[in-house]
Every structure is written in structure tokens, then in C-alpha cells.
């Protein structure tokens, strides 16, 4: 059994000094971040595209198996732009165009025109091209 560690005595580390621990933490994060970026760029199979906000699906502009490029329009949602002005909430109806943030293929479409969605609902599933970060 060991006594309670004294933080001021530097016993709260397995490294020689605090400085070594700082370097180790930065190296660890560097490795973890690089691994995540590599995984997301080259190994991730599919990405779920969720609705950006609450709204109603007006139009689906693509079909399953469609090839899309970054910036291509995928769907149009009817949303309400909410803004607090002078202590009152103003709501203005507007259309929100959902665009693709990457190159890839539409694997499946999970909603239909007329569906009411929120930011937790998946609109469609995309298979990204390798070499880009979703």
C-alpha cells in the first residue's frame, strides 16, 4: 500500500518532470488527432447528413446512388428564421438549402417531401470520397 500522493512533491506523475509530461500530452494529442483525421479521411464508410435546423422538407433534389460534389444542393427545407428584436421574438419563414459538404455518393435518403424534421433527424446517408474530411 502507498501513502497519499503529495501533488507539490511531483509524485502525481509517471514522468521525470512536469515538462516531460507536457511534451507527452502534446505528443499523445497529436497522435490521437492525426489518427482521427486519417480515419475520417480514408476509412470512414458513410456519413449521416442531419437537418441543420427544425423545418419541413420541401424538396429532395437528389436520388439514391447520385454522385454529388461539394456545394451541390441536396434538399430544401422550409424553416423559420427566429431572431429576438426589441425583446420580442420575430419569426420569418424562409427556405434553407442543404448542400453537400463533400464529394461522394448518396447511399440512401431517409426522409420524404412533407416530413417535419429537426436537427437530430437524418436526411440522407452519404458515402464520402476518400481523402476529404467529412
Amino acid at each position: 500500500m502507498v501513502d497519499a500522493a503529495d501533488a507539490k512533491g511531483g509524485k502525481m506523475t509517471v514522468f521525470k518532470t512536469d515538462r516531460h509530461e507536457d511534451y507527452a500530452a502534446m505528443v499523445m494529442v497529436g497522435i490521437v488527432t492525426a489518427a482521427i483525421l486519417l480515419y475520417m479521411s480514408f476509412l470512414v464508410g458513410e456519413i449521416e447528413l442531419k437537418a441543420p435546423e427544425e423545418g419541413k422538407v420541401l424538396e429532395i433534389l437528389v436520388v439514391s446512388d447520385a454522385v454529388v460534389k461539394k456545394g451541390d444542393k441536396l434538399a430544401v427545407l422550409a424553416v423559420k428564421d427566429k431572431k429576438m428584436v426589441g425583446g420580442k421574438l420575430e419569426e420569418r419563414p424562409s427556405n434553407c438549402t442543404v448542400t453537400s459538404s463533400l464529394n461522394g455518393v448518396v447511399k440512401s435518403i431517409k426522409v420524404q417531401e412533407g416530413d417535419v424534421v429537426n436537427d437530430k433527424n437524418v436526411l440522407m446517408v452519404l458515402v464520402p470520397e476518400k481523402g476529404q474530411l467529412p
Binding site: V2, A4, A5, T13, F15, R19, A24, P134
Partner: protein, 368 residues
């Protein structure tokens, strides 16, 4: 270090398995509980998230399961705790971008920075007045000046704070934040504060980030531009991004005074302090923020950013279990209530002063 690996692994695996069970089962169970008719009330109102649960579990291990002492087979593994906490702080930087500060507004930035560094100086003054241990002053200065738990944990290694003092500091911040979280909406409505004024006030005056958002939603449940939660988030963002600078100033103060006491009147040069003592991992936080600003991790709603955030939480949780395991209840009793007294003094002063200044000088609204 490599030779230590066989001794480190048992304790480390113990912490990792604990985090897996905690996050996949306990945290999920708590989020799904209905209390007072609200799902997730425990997580949101009592801050029973992975941070608190990890610390509590660590304390249970130390004081109940291990009966006051970490066993020899786990000791080396538990000593990796600060590595993971530092790693978590570094990864926290990926959630923020410098450009998001542009939404805050120059007058707001000036006000926030004044309160941050003003609070740090106030805590140092109170600490000198009450003859408080410098490590406690350091972590309370960061905790009260910036955003509570993260700032306290980021500063702790640089000022050689004891785990017990860190635990007391966190308890003070969260306790004070809980109280102000409940009373603030009533005060805001009674004084006729606008959403901007309320968001700015609690974004400055409440010590913990999560509680800022919760109280903004209590004031006005709508999430939209120009609402309390919109402004509360922005003002809180500015506080979090200032963590590296606050840690720098507090570390320089701590070692400057230490050198003065050890070597008489001979001054320790700032350059020497920076070279030998500055917690470098905080620069890692800044580095991640810069990379995020450059778009390396995609947008803030991208899948990549979401994964980075998840991994950050896991790394933090492993570190916080170890942090909790260094908290001995007997030491807490001996420590007394100094962090509590400082926290209350700084917290109440900041809370009231922020209210007065914002009520008098902040506009009721501005175009977002």
C-alpha cells in the same frame, strides 16, 4: 518510462474500464431519468455529466473501495491522470475558433477581459489579505476569473495545487453556480433585463460554462439569434479562449513570488520562469484553436469535429477518475474552507458588479 509500462498498465486499464462503464451505462441512465417531469434534469440542473461522475467515482474508489490508499498494483497507473487531463485541455481547443470572437463585439471583449483579469487580481488581493496558500489562490483565481472547472484544472499543475484543493475549488464553483443559476432568472426578470443584458451578465458573472447556458434557457427557452442563450454562449466563449493567457499570468505570478521568497530580493526573470515553469500544454490548447480556425477539423458541426469532441470527453474522463482518486476525505476535513471563502468572496463580488455595470452601460439590444 518504457520499463514502467508493466507497472502502469493495471491501474490505467482499471481507469479505462471504469470510464467505459460510466459513460456507456451510468451517464446514459442519468440522462434518461425523469425528475420533476423533465428528462435529463439530473444531468442539466445538477451538472451530473461525465466530468462530475468521473471525479465522484474516483473519490469513491479512493475513500470507499480502496479504504483511503491507492493500492500498489494501481499506483503507477493512477499517476498517469495528469497526462490525460492535460491531453483533454489541449483537445478542448478544437471546439473553438478565433473568428467566432468577431461575433462578440469589441465593447463586450473589453468588458469580459476586464472582469476576467480583474477577478484574478481580486482573488490575489484577498489571498494576500487572508494569508492563503499561493496554490489555492492560483486555482481560485483561474476558476473565478475564467470559466470554472476547465480553468481550475488547467492552472493546477502550474501552481502545484493539491488534488484536495482542486476538488474544493471545483465544489465551490459548482455550488455557487448552482445557486446563481436558480436565482438569476428571477433577478433578471425583476430588473427588466433584456436578453442581451441577461446573457452578458450571466456570461460574465456565473462561474461555470454549463450553468451559464442552463440559466439562459431558464430566462428565455427560445434558441435563436438575439436570445439570452445566444449571448451567453458568445460571452462564455471569450472566457474559455482566455484560458492560456490566464494560466500564463498566474504561473508567472506564482513562480515570481516563489523565487523572491527563496532568493531574497533577487528577481526571477520572466524569461526564465517561462522557460522552466510555464505549463506548455496550454500552448497545445492554443495550437488546436488555431488549427480549428484554419478549418483543419471542418466546420463546428462537421462529423470530424463531433468525433474530436467525443474523444476529448473520453480522455478527460480517464484523467478525472484519477484526479478523484487523489482526493482523500480526511485531507478535505483538514483543509478547511478557504477555497470556499475565496470563491464566495470573488464570486459574489463579480456577480453583483457585473449586474450593476451591465444594467447601467450595456445596450438593451444590438443587431446580430
Amino acid at each position: 518510462m518504457v520499463q514502467k509500462l508493466p507497472r502502469i498498465l493495471p491501474g490505467l486499464l482499471f481507469m479505462v474500464v471504469s470510464v467505459i462503464l460510466l459513460r456507456l451505462y451510468v451517464e446514459l441512465w442519468i440522462k434518461n431519468q425523469m425528475v420533476f417531469g423533465v428528462k435529463g434534469w439530473l444531468a442539466r440542473e445538477l451538472n451530473l455529466n461525465y466530468i462530475m461522475l468521473s471525479i465522484i467515482l474516483g473519490m469513491v474508489y479512493r475513500n470507499v473501495v480502496f479504504r483511503g490508499k491507492i493500492p500498489a498494483w494501481a499506483e503507477e497507473g493512477f499517476r498517469t491522470t495528469r497526462l490525460f487531463i492535460k491531453g483533454g485541455i489541449i483537445m478542448l481547443g478544437c471546439l473553438y475558433t478565433v473568428m467566432s470572437l468577431a461575433k462578440v463585439g469589441s465593447w463586450a471583449i473589453l468588458l469580459i477581459l476586464t472582469f476576467i483579469f480583474g477577478t484574478v487580481l481580486f482573488v490575489m488581493w484577498v489571498g494576500k489579505l487572508w494569508n492563503v496558500d499561493r496554490s489555492v489562490v492560483g486555482i481560485m483565481g483561474a476558476a473565478c476569473g475564467v470559466c470554472g472547472v476547465s480553468a481550475c484544472i488547467a492552472t493546477a499543475p502550474g501552481v502545484k495545487a493539491k488534488a484536495t484543493d482542486v476538488a474544493m475549488a471545483i465544489a465551490t464553483i459548482l455550488g455557487f453556480g448552482l445557486l446563481t443559476m436558480f436565482i438569476s432568472p428571477f433577478i433578471g426578470k425583476a430588473l427588466g433585463l433584456s436578453d442581451l443584458q441577461y446573457g452578458a451578465w450571466v456570461g460574465t458573472g456565473i462561474l461555470n460554462s454549463g450553468q451559464v447556458l442552463a440559466t439562459c434557457l431558464a430566462f428565455n427557452p427560445t434558441i435563436a439569434k438575439g436570445t439570452a442563450v445566444y449571448y451567453g454562449k458568445l460571452w462564455n466563449l471569450m472566457r474559455v479562449i482566455s484560458i492560456p493567457f490566464v494560466v500564463f499570468i498566474i504561473t508567472a505570478w506564482y513562480y515570481g513570488k516563489e523565487a523572491k521568497e527563496e532568493q531574497g530580493e533577487q528577481k526571477q526573470s520572466l524569461g526564465k520562469i517561462l522557460k522552466e515553469k510555464f505549463p506548455l500544454f496550454v500552448l497545445g490548447f492554443m495550437g488546436m484553436t488555431i488549427l480549428s480556425t484554419l478549418g483543419l477539423f471542418g466546420s463546428d458541426k462537421s462529423e470530424t469535429n463531433h468525433i474530436l469532441c467525443e474523444i476529448m470527453q473520453w480522455i478527460f474522463a480517464i484523467g478525472l477518475i484519477g484526479q478523484g482518486a487523489y482526493i482523500d476525505f480526511r485531507e478535505i476535513k483538514q483543509a478547511g474552507g478557504m477555497p470556499l471563502k475565496i470563491g464566495l468572496a470573488a464570486g459574489v463580488t463579480k456577480y453583483l458588479l457585473a449586474l450593476v455595470i451591465i444594467k447601467l452601460f450595456a445596450p438593451a439590444d444590438y443587431d446580430v
